[in-house]
């Protein structure tokens, strides 16, 4: 049913519809509303789950690791510093093949402390073995949570899923979202039935010491499984569309790329602004398009190569920076591109800095100019050289 509501509320509704048995999180801006709504659902009896208010993010992730291992569909939610505090648990959960679901409300990382949006947090954990899906808007977020559970819990996959939503922009933005009914979600997402779990009827030990004779193979198995998730995401996307009528679940979205000379690459809510700017530019005759990455991990290299095959000028917009190198998406996409393409990387929107159509305009122009592997757009010289310098 279509509702006009705050993003956090829509996400909480989506989680509720997936019937998790255990929910545990620790407060951090801008994730708070999601968890508060879930707490209200539990308090009202609308969600029958154990909702555990833990004493830190490290414990939140540890708790859902434990509950998932005993066979409960579980959920946690965090941002930025919280994600970093639970980082070792995040790697642990993937290594132990437990399909926990997390919503990461993307937020910039300290220092300086900043509560506004960029994607540094989830991007910094891209090595962890989690499936990472980035939503452009709240409809996609709602849909990716439902599909994400199904993908992660597939008995051949059994990997945790991180649905990333730009903090404040999506979490606190009000949008019209079609929130599915419980019956529809139940039809698409069956009860969690893991191929292994802690059970007194069949005792086993989980979380073993893996010495050099076995660790290498374990990591390969994880890696292989993530790659095998690529076709599964595509298939699940088709199934999702068949039932719910929406395209939300996919590896990438190609927007006006068929005849594009210039192609921008980006993730998340900025894609909405980019699409608007592309429409404006197209009206003026500029052949520009957008490749939106939805599945960040596994990294859909074939889909990306295919989408960018025709464009000559590629501009990659990163809302993150691997300090001392380049934006993360720049590095990974550039590696796939043949030598004859002109690939530039742009760092924009860090710490919640607005990315306007004007900014995108500038990026499109720069993409056609001299190649620049890492340009921080819209730098304010006054602040850079002014009163904050020591």
């Amino acid at each position: 049913m279509k509702q006009f509501l705050e993003g956090s509320w829509a996400l909480a509704e989506s989680v509720k519809l997936c019937r998790p048995q255990v929910v545990s999180a620790y407060p951090i801006t801008p994730q708070t509303h999601i968890v508060e709504h879930l707490a209200q659902f539990v308090a009202n009896g609308d969600l029958k789950a154990e909702s555990v208010n833990v004493e830190s993010e490290h414990s939140a992730a540890s708790l859902v690791l434990g509950s998932e291992a005993v066979g409960s569909r579980s959920f946690t939610c965090t941002s930025s510093q919280g994600l970093f505090l639970m980082a070792e648990v995040v790697f642990n959960i993937a290594g132990m093949r437990l399909p926990v679901m997390m919503v990461c409300a993307n937020r910039a990382v300290s220092a300086p402390i900043n509560i506004w949006n960029d994607q540094q947090d989830s991007v910094s954990l891209r090595d962890s073995g989690w499936i990472q899906l980035q939503a452009e808007n709240n409809q996609e977020a709602v849909d990716l949570i439902i599909a994400g559970y199904k993908i992660g819990e597939d008995p051949k996959i059994m990997l945790p899923v991180m649905v990333c939503v730009d903090g404040f922009i999506l979490t606190h933005g009000m949008e019209t979202v079609d929130v599915p009914s419980q019956a529809e979600v139940d039809k698409f997402l069956p009860a969690y039935n893991p191929p292994y779990k802690l059970d007194v009827a069949d005792p086993m030990s989980l979380g073993l010491l893996g010495d050099p004779t076995v660790y290498h193979e374990n990591r390969y198995a994880l890696h292989r499984t993530l790659l095998e998730t690529i076709p599964l995401i595509e298939q699940t996307g088709k199934d999702f569309k068949a039932q719910f009528g929406r395209d939300s679940v996919r590896l990438v979205e190609e927007y006006k790329l068929d005849d594009a000379e210039i192609a921008l690459v980006a993730m998340g809510s900025v894609c909405g602004t980019i699409k608007d700017t592309i429409d404006e530019q197209r009206a003026k005759g500029v052949k520009v398009g957008l490749l939106k990455i939805v599945s960040y991990r596994p990294f859909p290299d074939e889909a990306i190569k295919k989408a960018l095959a025709k464009a000559t000028y590629i501009g990659i917009v990163d809302k993150n920076i691997s300090l001392g190198a380049t934006g993360a998406n720049y590095a990974e996409v550039k590696a796939l591109m043949p030598a004859d393409k002109k690939v530039s990387g742009f760092v924009a929107g860090l710490g919640g800095r607005d990315i306007t159509p004007c900014t995108i305009q500038g990026i499109i122009n720069d993409t056609k100019g001299a190649v620049n592997v890492c340009k921080f757009v819209d730098l304010n010289e006054k602040i850079l050289f002014g009163e904050f310098k020591v």
Binding site: V22, S59, L65, G66, S67, N92
Partner: protein, 294 residues
């Protein structure tokens, strides 16, 4: 696996603990009392490392190891899932960790678990140092013990601080049961485990376990060493219920600390010095007075 002792025990042979390891003994005593309907969340440490090297495990019940400091949080999750599935009435949850994984890096998660009231028994196996990583001091290392990070030297007589009052810290959460036990008194340990597991809610058990390697003591002396720790007043056996001291193991004639200290190489320098000996005797005397052991 068909041999009788494999059938009779829930923590079995084949683990690679040092000969005479107090912790392996305690783990078996605890688990045999807990029974097959038990799930364990174990922290990183000696017990985990010597019991579960892939592809083997010495545990006969469902068991999970995650990280070093989160045994209590993982156990909370195990409990929450059992509760959500309506199985908590028939399955017991135990969180176990060493002294470092409990009193230092694990203290936050433990406190959270106790405060939230999870139905979990937390067992701390205290061998008084980070043994698995090579005998480094922890918050439960006793006064002037020689460890690799509090070594003896011109400027050092060993660990300069006293054991964190772990049982009191847990009891201060007003949980139904917080107690100390020792492998030197194995039947008492088992009784306390049984008592704890019959209670619903958060429980804590602090178990003293000698480490022949780290303490530099005889493997065959593990039980004697543990007994002496109790009998000198250095490791009192106490029980708290809802924050109030309920029972103590009385010592009508406490043994002098020297009898205990001389069994272990880590205290050799103390035994040689009447001055240091007096300091350690003082800690024992303080315990005897505080708990009313005499």
């Amino acid at each position: 696996m068909e041999r009788e002792h494999f059938q009779e025990n829930l923590y079995v042979s084949g683990h690679t603990a040092c000969p005479g390891c107090g912790q392996s003994m305690a783990a078996r005593l605890v688990l045999n009392v807990a029974g097959p309907n038990t799930m364990i969340a174990n922290a990183t440490g000696c017990l985990e490392v010597f019991s579960t090297k892939a592809p083997e495990t010495a545990f006969g019940v469902p068991w999970i190891h995650s990280l070093f400091e989160n045994a209590a949080a993982v156990a909370s999750g195990v409990e929450a899932s059992l509760k959500a599935q309506g199985k908590l009435s028939t399955v017991r949850v135990i969180a176990q960790a060493g002294d470092g994984g409990t009193a230092d890096i694990g203290l936050q998660a433990l406190s959270g678990m106790l405060e939230r009231g999870h139905d979990v028994l937390y067992v701390c196996y205290d061998n008084e140092a980070y043994m698995n990583t090579g005998i480094q001091r922890s918050g439960l290392t006793p006064f002037e013990a020689n460890t690799t990070t509090t070594p003896l030297g011109k400027n050092s007589a060993g660990n300069p601080t006293y054991k964190k009052p772990l049982v009191e810290i847990c009891a201060a959460h007003h949980i139904p049961y917080a107690a100390s036990a020792s492998v030197g008194f194995p039947q008492d340990l088992q009784k306390k485990v049984k008592k704890a597991l019959d209670i619903r809610g958060p429980k804590f058990l602090h178990v003293h376990v000698p480490c022949p390697l780290g303490w530099i003591s005889e493997p065959a002396g593990t039980l004697e060493v543990a007994k002496l720790a109790v009998q000198t007043g250095l490791f009192p056996l106490v029980e708290y219920e809802y924050g109030k001291l309920a029972r103590v193991f009385k010592l009508p004639a406490p043994k002098p600390v020297e009898e205990y200290l001389k069994t272990q190489g880590r205290f050799r320098h103390i035994v040689k010095s009447p001055q240091e000996l007096a300091k350690v005797q003082q800690t024992a005397d303080k315990n005897i007075e505080f708990y009313g052991l005499k």
